[in-house]
Symmetry: C2
């Protein structure tokens, strides 16, 4: 397998983190398995949109899907995704703090 091809696959799985709804899904499923309906109730928005995000994440192997009666239950298939997600949030927070410091310095000088 070519180097470039690995980068493509790697980027492709990382794209799962690149949308607010999908981040919220990861957050929501952090320690729970939840049905589609429960997730929808928590996150809101049109159901078709949520369904598509969930299924794209399942296709990438990030979520596991299980059907029981009328409900479909989703959970994270690995804790690692939630960890990576949390680390990126820390990066965000750090950057926001740096930004805030800049503003403070401007105001005090």
């Amino acid at each position: 397998m070519d180097n470039k091809e690995i980068y493509l696959l790697h980027a492709n799985i990382c794209k799962a983190l690149g949308h607010a709804i999908r981040i919220e899904i990861i957050d929501t499923l952090q320690n729970n398995e939840m049905s589609f309906g429960e997730i929808l109730e928590k996150i809101g928005g049109p159901k078709s949109s949520l369904s598509q995000h969930l299924s794209s994440m399942a296709t990438k192997g990030i979520l596991a899907q299980r059907k029981e009666g009328l409900s479909v239950y989703y959970k994270l298939s690995s804790e690692k995704v939630a960890i990576a997600c949390r680390i990126m949030r820390e990066v965000l927070i750090e950057n926001m703090k740096k930004h805030q410091n800049l503003i403070n310095n401007l105001q005090n000088n």
Copy 2:
């Protein structure tokens, strides 16, 4: 700050990981500061494309940029991005292994 707004910002910074070239940039800068030209030599492709990826990452606060003479040097502004990136690669590898196992099982039955 609204919840939804945080998810938007969070997703936005995660988008930095969502492209093969940007993943390769993170990989390349893992332990080095490098000039634009050096990065270009390693990664290849048109320079305008590389420049745009680098600058979008710098704008998001993921890369730090420093100009010296004619050259512009880039480095990761936090080790955390490389860590998150590595964790996502592990998720990819694990998924590929599961997939491979499925294929093996099909062949042996």
